[in-house]
């Protein structure tokens, strides 16, 4: 196709915007990584020397071992519980038409559309009244609010893809609902469950607002600890904060890379926003 000069310029400027954005993004991440290994970094392009000492310091000063254990516990519980609640609910939503189904669908959409800080403040108030906030269970419950509907909405199309005759056959051979799930549905739904739970995992590691509003000193996850470290910048050196940021970044990005084996990047934003 013949393209005019104007069209070529337009196309060039669009690519310039994309390249400029990506370069700044990579420079932002790169400067955190470089700073975390630097000895002194003043008016030069790279630090004067390189050292791993900030990681040792961050490991001890920020109590990273405890924080990593809490993070693993919270994320593990959220992934497991949202799967156990979400998958059966998605199955019922996909297979049955009943009065009020539209309303229930709206009920599952709302926690994904309303930003966490808006509902997080009243929710944290309720959890404080119930003496759950400040404990690890309060953090887990808070994080489940967006992840349960998220799993449901992702799983509905996966259930719809399964031929209902397979379930009918299992029923004919005498399988009850429990056996139907364990021996027929879960194996068939594995790709969907894996995708949904990996996305829940990545989202929960990075979920700041809900964890921040409900966590106490012993129930902080990595992202909340990172917030407090940046908030109190000046108390500790920027390099050790950046070392902690790198630990957070590596944790998140490893799971993102695993998740991307099963889902398309565009699905990370769109699945939840159907």
């Amino acid at each position: 196709m013949h393209r005019s000069l104007g069209e070529k310029l337009w196309s060039f400027s669009i690519w310039a915007v994309v390249v400029f954005f990506v370069l700044n993004l990579l420079a932002m991440i790169g400067s955190v990584v470089v700073d975390s290994f630097g000895t002194h970094w003043f008016n030069t392009w790279v630090p004067a020397g390189f050292t791993p000492q900030w990681y040792v310091m961050a490991w001890e000063e920020f109590q990273l071992p405890e924080i990593l254990i809490v993070t693993a516990e919270v994320v593990g519980a959220v992934v497991l519980i949202s799967g156990v609640i979400g998958v059966p609910t998605a199955y019922a939503m996909a297979r049955r038409n009943f009065p009020g189904k539209q309303l229930i669908m709206l009920l599952f959409l709302l926690p994904l559309l309303v930003p966490p800080i808006t509902y997080g403040i009243p929710m944290a108030t309720v959890l404080y009244q119930a003496h759950l906030a400040g404990t690890i269970w309060g953090v887990i419950l808070a994080n489940l609010v967006p992840t349960v509907p998220f799993v449901i909405l992702i799983m509905i199309p996966f259930v719809e893809q399964i031929d209902p005759r397979i379930e009918a056959a299992a029923r004919v051979f005498g399988a009850g609902l429990g056996r139907l799930f364990v021996q027929v549905l879960v194996p068939l739904l594995t790709p969907g469950i894996l995708a949904a739970l990996l996305l829940v995992l990545v989202r929960t590691i990075a979920m700041f607002e809900l964890t921040f509003l409900t966590s106490g000193p012993t129930s902080q996850t990595l992202v909340v600890a990172l917030y407090y470290a940046v908030f109190a910048a000046g108390v500790r050196s920027q390099q050790s904060i950046d070392a902690m940021a790198v630990v957070y970044m590596v944790t998140t990005l490893i799971w993102l890379l695993i998740a991307l084996q099963f889902v398309n990047p565009t699905q990370i934003v769109t699945r939840a926003k159907q």
């Binding site: 700044n24 991440i29 049955r96 229930i104 509003l213 940046v230 990047p265 934003v269």
Partner: protein, 294 residues
């Protein structure tokens, strides 16, 4: 089991209610208990202020400049960020749609969304700081003589909203753009429409419903900006956004009724803007969106 019970069962089953349907209950009860109930609780609590009549919290919000100004301060950040991200996303998504290997770009762009706002705030503090690489480039190339101040002010928050907001609007727009049948644009081209005409007469009307949703979602995210407004902005000054005063009321002054009132106002503003955007969608475009045979 009696005949009456059996027939009730059958009647229920005919309406789609049986053992399988009951499986929705755990999910429904969970969302009711931890999402709907807290919202209603917050709404009721907001009408039971610590002092004064039932509307005292709302009166306080709208009479104290420290509080009501936050709406204006938040809109000043959220509206430009939303518009910039969405307007940039459309041409980029239309171009990327034609790419064969989109996955590398979409993977890179999903990184800031995954890392979250706290990490982006820390990254920008290092990158945009007086000794960061951006100022190094500006100083060494002679564009400026002294470091440009981009953190701990309005611009820090704005840039963080672009870094994490643009990938979001872009990926969302891309998913809407790829849903448009390419045959429609080819038909336009065959009939002699130039690319500008094809955009305004074919693509934009088809994209309008998706764009309205993108704008609405991008706006509510920007409107509830929280960690970066504190870490990268000036939380006592130009970036004292509404979520900061809600948080401070709840967890620094322990005035839960006032905090609930502010949270309800936040929700109300979001609902009004979303309703306006989705309402405008039906005004702009009333024709069919799908390409089924007529």
């Amino acid at each position: 089991m009696s005949a009456a019970q059996l027939s009730l069962r059958r009647r229920l089953r005919e309406r789609g209610l049986d053992g399988v349907t009951l499986l929705v209950l755990p999910g429904v009860l969970f969302v009711l208990a931890l999402f709907i109930y807290p919202f209603i609780y917050g709404l009721v609590l907001s009408f039971h202020p610590k002092q004064g009549g039932w509307l005292a919290n709302y009166q306080k919000f709208f009479t104290e400049p420290f509080l009501y100004e936050t709406i204006w301060l938040t809109l000043q950040i959220a509206v430009p960020a939303t518009l910039l991200n969405t307007v940039l996303s459309v041409p980029v998504a239309l171009r990327v749609r034609l790419m064969k290997r989109q996955k590398l770009l979409t993977t890179i762009l999903v990184i800031p969304i995954t890392l979250g706002t706290v990490m982006v705030a820390d990254g920008l503090l290092t990158y945009l700081g007086p000794r960061g690489w951006l100022n190094r480039i500006l100083l060494d190339s002679g564009i400026t003589d002294s470091p440009v101040r981009l953190i701990h002010n309005y611009w820090g928050v704005m840039l963080s909203l672009v870094i994490s907001g643009f990938p979001f609007t872009f990926l969302l727009t891309l998913s809407y753009v790829t849903g448009i049948d390419p045959a429609l644009e080819q038909a336009g081209a065959m009939l002699g429409a130039k690319s500008r005409q094809r955009f305004f007469r074919i693509l934009l009307p088809l994209l309008a419903p998706g764009l309205a949703i993108t704008l609405a979602l991008a706006f509510v995210q920007a409107f509830t900006v929280f960690p970066s407004a504190i870490l990268l902005g000036a939380p006592a000054g130009p970036t004292r956004v509404i979520s900061i005063v809600a948080y401070q009321a709840a967890f620094e002054q322990f005035d839960y009724p006032l905090a609930s009132a502010i949270a309800m106002l936040m929700a109300l503003i979001q609902i009004v803007i979303i309703a306006a955007l989705l309402g405008a969608r039906t005004l702009v475009f009333r024709g069919p969106v799908s390409t089924g045979k007529g």
